[in-house]
Symmetry: C2
Subunit: 274 residues, 2 copies
């Protein structure tokens, strides 16, 4: 039987999502806890592999389980009891928020039809301690209208080669992706760059947000951003800004019922979109 | 010359505000940084001594400075440069957000005419990692109307002996304080208990909020809270809930111009009051 889980984590003390030998990763922690409770060695698959330092609300993973190994010892699978057990084993910086049985054809990565991310920026005279691990700090004023205009050039099914490390292009990876929406949301001292799209290349959101911030500071024009996109020129695009401000917010599956996703950060953010 | 500073800190890795031998405290860190930049040994006084784990935005401190020791070496005191120096010395979990010269009669504690705190509660099926160090986690439903009714009995200049450790009463400390406002604000998964008053006894906000949560769970009635207050019975009041959810938000000085206090948390909170 196949199960999908919604997961939240604080990225600070993880070397990213994907398993790496000798490193603490979200995948390793989740596989360990799920394997203990399901009483079998499990592998998980994820909607979005996030880098070291990147956070998540609403991350989705799935795993294939021989349920009898659990039910023999524990009786019927009760969602609430099961989640309580898994979360008791997990450390405090990762939590499973929801679970559901899904069809055998469901795949957290390949069935995913939409992914949402947000990059959080703190605009304040000093870097407030509570935002240290969850935002990029920007002091000066930013031209929001110019950033929005630049962002409008990045909507659609486009070749985003300019916004991923050149290494990936050389490896022959396909660099076409679809961005449905970029919203720039002002919420007092916070500025949110919200992305909704089919999927994103490695570092793509961090490079796009870095490029939009360069536009906001007047270092690039909106038109230049369009040229950078067309010319596929990574060198001309903005810097890869730090992972600390990035949150994986949600994964959508058009053809499947997936686990619940109540997610206070996303709800607040969407309530403030124009 | 006397200076006042507005300060923000993340309480997790501090043994509270007040200096203690061999412990890392906010006071010790601030005195060290200010002494280095002002080139003299300084002591600071604060609007509110917070316990270990308690956070602050808008905390106010003052210190008495022989300004010539600074200006001899550095020239005129420029606020922005000065704050940049102090914040470069401070660790990442404490920051000075504003500063201003104040009259010689100003005292961060004794001149303070109003203090604002908020206690943050997360109401969600699981304890989300991003709230671990900044909220109390409550799973079950809470009767907000009953909590508001109970809170209404605690408004005014009253004897709050029931809401502070018995030890302090025995020591003969005066237990009369004035609470001007308690607002219970619902913001999606967050529940904020906002307090505005003359000053607060040791653990008073944590015990009052713990008592209001007991009302919310139906363990106490609003009328019983009134009786607890009148009877000065600490044993009958609720538990002292953890410091992690508590934030010092603001200190007011009716008779003085104090440093700026732009404070995004407080602004958001006040925008949601009824």
């Amino acid at each position: 039987m196949r199960f999908a889980f919604t997961v939240a984590y604080h990225g600070k003390n993880f070397s990213g999502f994907q398993i790496q030998h000798g490193r603490r990763t979200v995948q390793a922690e989740l596989e360990r806890a799920l394997s203990i409770v399901f009483r079998q060695k499990l592998r998980i698959h994820t909607a979005g592999r996030t880098d070291a330092g990147v956070h998540a609300f609403g991350q989705v993973v799935h795993t294939e389980v021989e349920l009898s190994r659990y039910t023999e010892k524990q009786g019927d699978l009760q969602t609430e009891t099961f989640l309580y057990s898994v979360n008791s084993i997990l450390d405090k910086d990762v939590v499973v928020t929801h679970m559901a049985q899904v069809p055998e054809q469901f795949h957290a990565r390949f069935s995913c039809t939409g992914r949402e991310y947000v990059y959080q920026v703190l605009q304040f005279p000093v870097f407030l301690p509570h935002y240290r691990d969850v935002a990029l700090w920007v002091r000066g004023p930013l031209d929001i209208a110019a950033m929005r205009e630049a962002a409008s050039h990045l909507i659609g099914e486009l070749d985003f080669a300019a916004f991923t490390p050149a290494f990936y292009r050389k490896a022959g990876e396909k660099t076409i992706r679809r961005i449905d929406k970029i919203e720039i949301i002002e919420n007092r001292a916070l500025l949110w760059f919200y992305f909704d799209g089919s999927g994103f290349l490695h570092n793509m959101i961090r490079i796009i947000t870095g490029t939009l911030l360069a536009v906001g500071r007047g270092e690039l024009t909106a038109l230049q951003v369009k040229e950078i996109l067309v010319n596929r020129s990574r060198e001309a695009a903005g810097m890869t800004i730090p992972p600390t401000g990035l949150f994986f917010l949600n994964a959508r599956y058009a053809e499947y019922e997936t686990p619940g996703k109540k997610n206070p950060f996303r709800e607040e953010l969407l309530s403030l979109t124009r």
